[in-house]
Point group: C2
Chain length 197, copies 2
């Protein structure tokens, strides 16, 4: 009788292997051979999951996006309202601990490659759209509750907040000491407070 | 008599070749062979300039940084004061035209690679420091003139402004239509106006 392979389980194990490699060494040198060594399976078995390097990169990116989404879901219950949830949606993108620092390294490595590869660019675009949409929704709810300025354009402000967080992540990744977590959050709080005026 | 090679001239020609390749195809696949073909010289001649891929990447990044610096210098004379110069320092980082879009593609491709390569990370860190320092200086002058809130921390605000511009450049690179140049500048102007309150 042939061995029954649990595909979901193997997929999860591969995601873990790809994630460990990508966060440790970056994406540009990530190969199917490295992944098979890290995951302890043959490169032949990997070809069921990835046809080429591009599919492997997409998988690494999706694994990162899934990690972030799980963290958002876990935090959602503990938030006190739409503005507080907006704060959570922003904090997930900042390198405030080792886990997020690793995620951000993979995120920006992917971004660098996506600029000249349309398929990867599509995945990146979708991820930013989803992030902005969620944040826009929270700002609209905060507006309905009278918690922020009713004349503001929630979508534009969401774009600016995502931009601020992304840019802080860049600077903090290269200069963690000059730009501490507290300084990063100070700028996010200042901006959120600015919306309430 | 041996031919006299003008090293400065050759260096400039190489910078142009590296720049064209990098902005067209990204950095991760940039090789000494490609550069020699684009520049019309032998790979042997290139070895006088770059020992390895890392030095080639650094050269591509420095070429981009030099282009940006020249644009800032050219614009400086036309600015009406420190806040207006701050606006110029921010606008150089936004993909508002084809030239800046190409520069930003190279910048973020480099950034993606720098996250796992200490030498490249050092160059990136220096570039951000210089950008923030220049902007901080302008905000201080604006404070001395009473043009912005005297209680603000110019360095922290400069960090936030650079972050905003970097993050807008990311989103606009992937969605130029959703985030037009006008929308990008609207967010920058809103933030600058916020400093004056």
């Amino acid at each position: 009788m042939p061995k029954v392979v649990d595909h979901e389980e193997r997929r999860a194990a591969l995601a873990e292997a790809v994630w460990r490699l990508a966060s440790r060494e970056g994406l540009e040198a990530l190969t199917l051979r490295d992944v098979s060594a890290e995951a302890g399976c043959s490169t032949g078995a990997l070809h069921h999951y990835f046809r080429d390097k591009e599919e492997l990169l997409l998988f690494a990116f999706q694994t990162t996006a899934d990690r972030v989404a799980r963290r958002i879901d876990a935090a959602k219950g503990a938030t006190s309202g739409p503005l507080d949830f907006a704060r959570t949606l922003l904090a997930v993108g900042l390198p405030l601990d080792a886990e997020r620092r690793a995620e951000i390294r993979v995120w920006f490595a992917f971004l660098g490659l996506a600029l000249t590869r349309p398929v990867l660019a599509g995945a990146q675009r979708d991820a930013y759209r989803a992030w902005r949409r969620q944040l826009t929704q929270n700002l609209k709810e905060a507006q309905e509750r009278g918690e922020i300025d009713p004349t503001l354009d929630p979508e534009l402000e969401a774009t600016g907040l995502v931009a601020l967080v992304d840019g802080l992540a860049v600077q903090a990744s290269f200069e963690p000491r000059a730009l501490s977590g507290a300084r990063q959050m100070e700028l996010v709080e200042e901006r959120l407070a600015g919306l309430a005026r």
